[in-house]
């Protein structure tokens, strides 16, 4: 399903959202948290774009920056050809109507002091949708009833307060609120993660029905991979503020090209106690790279098995030549103190190489220079399949064929 000829509803270009974490008056060290760092993708009309990644990878920040809850640090958000990033907050109102959001926590996302009517009607009031009608009050009430019924609630629920509803019902109220202004794009920020499984299915099916009926476009943020696969047409995989891979959902699940995507997909639990499937699971080592002041390199390089290069001694001088000016990434013996130290992405100088050899190390794991020295760009490796990895082709030789 090639979408390249269509015009996208939403196009995100080089979107950046940095948070200043510098603390203190005297501590002048600058700390920039790169929650979203230079990501680009397109969402076409009527499709569902899934955004997955582990906790803290910037999925939610991406969603909130697109809807301008956060002011983007850089890049552009083209919505129907209008760059929202350049529009000041006070002029945003007309665009707010076209873009809505469904939130993760059905308990936190509804104001406990307002009735369901007030919650759902807030958008109608703000945008003055029925101001031209003869009886705007009646039209508003009818619209609210209609929406409530369409999300599976009853009319008499309209005058109640949120605390009188279950989690699933509350999430329906949240969806009704988003639908009340007839948006074109809905950003679903983990709308089902707080619900239990049976209700998850109901809510997802309801969202799909609305998409069919009203031609809605969804940006679906989640970390439940199987649910994302079910609902999404295309999926973007994020890792520490960067998009690692973008592909259609079938493509992504069948042919993951990025090492991180592969690891992520292998973590999907198999609901079969007999088939433990532990052999195929890729267990990543090490910690997630800090998004604070990141170095210009592949965000995944510290954990990627393909960024490693194991060098073994053949002859001393040969070994020396091999390791000089290469990037180390593993733990090695400290040449002077004989302690093990982390040399994460450092250049090994000739002097250091000599010391390593003098100690008698004959095997050393080094990182690949490119992975540690250069940010990989998101490239279209095969049609409609984008990957951000320096060694995609090398790693996936067989898969690409």
């Amino acid at each position: 399903m090639s979408k390249t000829t269509e015009k996208p509803v939403l196009e995100v270009r080089n979107l950046k959202k940095y948070f200043d974490k510098s603390k203190g008056f005297f501590n002048r060290e600058e700390k920039i948290l790169t929650a979203v760092d230079d990501i680009s993708f397109k969402i076409y009309k009527g499709e569902t774009f899934g955004l997955v990644g582990e906790s803290g990878c910037g999925k939610t920040t991406t969603g909130r920056t697109i809807i301008k809850l956060y002011e983007p640090t850089g890049g552009s958000i083209l919505f129907d050809g209008v760059d929202l990033a350049t529009i000041p907050e006070k002029d945003m109102l007309p665009y707010r109507k076209d873009m809505q959001m469904i939130f993760q926590d059905p308990y936190a996302s509804l104001n406990g002091r307002m009735t369901v009517t007030d919650i759902v009607g807030e958008g109608i009031d703000t945008h003055g949708i029925f101001d031209d009608e003869d009886d705007p009050e009646l039209a508003r009430q009818e619209k609210i009833y209609e929406i409530l019924e369409s999300v599976g609630l009853k009319r008499e629920h309209a005058s109640r307060y949120p605390h009188e509803f279950s989690g699933g019902q509350r999430q329906r109220i949240g969806i009704a609120r988003a639908l009340a202004v007839d948006p074109k794009l809905i950003i679903c920020d983990e709308p089902i993660s707080a619900l239990d499984v049976s209700i998850q299915a109901q809510v997802v099916n309801m969202l799909e029905d609305f998409q069919k009926d009203k031609g809605l476009t969804y940006l679906f943020i989640a970390h439940d991979l199987s649910m994302v696969k079910h609902i999404s047409d295309r999926i973007g995989v994020m890792y520490v503020g960067k998009l690692m891979e973008v592909a259609s959902s079938d493509d992504l699940y069948l042919k993951p090209l990025h090492p991180y995507t592969k690891a992520l997909l292998s973590s999907i639990p198999v609901p079969d106690p007999d088939n433990k499937d532990t052999e195929n699971r890729i267990v990543l080592e090490g910690d997630v790279t800090s998004p604070i002041n990141p170095k210009p390199r592949c965000r995944f390089c510290t954990r990627c098995e393909y960024s490693k290069e194991v060098l073994e001694e053949e002859s001393s001088s040969n070994f020396r030549d091999k390791i000089i000016n290469r990037y180390s990434r593993e733990i090695i013996l400290h040449p002077e103190t004989h302690e093990l130290v982390v040399t994460d992405g450092q250049l090994i100088t000739p002097a250091l190489a000599d010391k390593i050899i003098n100690i008698g190390l004959n095997k050393i794991t080094l990182g690949k220079e490119k992975c540690f020295n250069e940010v990989p760009k998101l490239k279209e490796v095969i049609p409609d399949h984008f990957v951000a990895c320096h060694f995609t082709k090398k790693i996936n030789k067989d898969l690409l064929k």
Binding site: R64, R96, F103, S109, R113, E122, Y161
Partner: protein, 531 residues
Amino acid sequence: MKDKFKLLPKEEKRDIEETRKSLTYWEDVWRRLKNHKSSMFGLVGVILIVFVAIFGPFFSPYGYEDTFTDYINVPPRIDIYKITEEKYFYVSENRYLIESTENGTLGTRYNEVARDLINRVLYFSKPYKIKTEITSSTTYPAPTDLAENVFYSETWGIGLIDAEFATGDEFIDIAYIHPDSPLTSLSFEEADFELNDDYLLDNVTFINPSGDADAISSDEGAEFLIEQFDTNTKIIDIRVSSSDIVSVDYSLKLVEPSERPEGMEDVIYQIEYKGNEVSEVYDTVRNQNNFLGTDHLGRDVLTRIIFGARISLTVALVATLVNFFIGVVYGTVAGYVGGSVDNYMMRIVDIINSIPLVLYVILLSVVLNEVVIDFNLFGRHFTLFRGSGGLGTIIVALGFVYWVNMARLVRGQIIGLKRQEYVLAARTIGVSNIKIMTRHLVPNAMGPIIVSMTMMIPAAVFTEAFLSFIGLGVSAPQASWGTLANEALQAFRRYPYQLFYPSLAISITMLAFNFLGDGLRDALDPRLRQG
């Protein structure tokens, strides 16, 4: 076993959802508050206090500045002595003799006419009135042949010749009226006295008069008073004689120091009236004139406490308004806008908060002493603010500083609430910032706001009482509970009731507000109760 359970007939089956009434947040709070006993006491107390402060003065027969010079330092419960079937007397702590009825309604205060310090006898007489009339305002020179100790009024042409006191039970003074004086007669309450040829009145005793107009005093206590009713009629108060004299025989009885604090000797009175001698207290009755007694200027303590409630409640109202309109708004704006705006706003709060309230009051009372703000509306004159009164200063000082804690609290609440998803949802809808603050943030922060307000109101009332107590607050003749306590403190050992009742009023108010606040906190945040 089987017939123990019966199926419910169909018509009695009800949908649970249908039967349960939908409660709003505040209905739920009220329901929980009703179950909280002490807070209901507090609520009733607060309502009572407010009611008394608003309507009490209308029912009070006296004003807060009305003084009854006859009844100074009369306690709420008085010891009365029965002399005859109709005559009862109360002897006040400072040895005034006041006529009373059996149930404790006080009457005329007898005036001390003489004292025999050796035998410890005080002589009292009922004050009488002499009515005189005048037609001109000529001055009359004193006759040359009057005795040495004569007191002479040039206006009236009346001279009073002082006779010897304490010689026996007869007291004879002689009144001389100038022959040219327009005064033609003198009338007592009971009898008219004719002027003889020499214009002398015999057998009349002029004793210490009551009232506070221009009195002429002798060195032995023979005084008389001229009160002017209008240009022609004057009243001269003169005390009369012999048979109505009451003598009080008091003796000091010393008891063991351990039984009674030092200086509190038990005084036993022996009262003699027309031959009847009484030395035992007939009854201890409630003071019917002044329910809670009078203070050192003869002002009604109850009335002053009721008026004091007005001042305390005014302070409470100001504290509430300031907290709500400045504190909540300031805190909301600082918390919601955030960033450097928040930083600057909170530093201002820090600066204000770093200076103690007492200092503000002292400085402001210096600055505001001369300031009076008044205006005319519908032909009536209103004084909006008077700096010299003391209350104005306290109100301005509270207005300046009392909102800072509320601002901090609200700011903290708002910072927490503004990250809530429903606020984000409102922002994605495009709701304006003011509406987000008023419809989403403030209503949700209302719980802590109300709780801290009910805790801050008694603190403000207490602050006012404290400042008045140390002399920085409301000034005389206005009565705040603090000033009442302060005035009472000077004679606290002798008249403890004067300190007790204002303190009780302060305590009840504190307790009522604190109980209510406590209950409200539980009702507004039921999770706290477990902890």
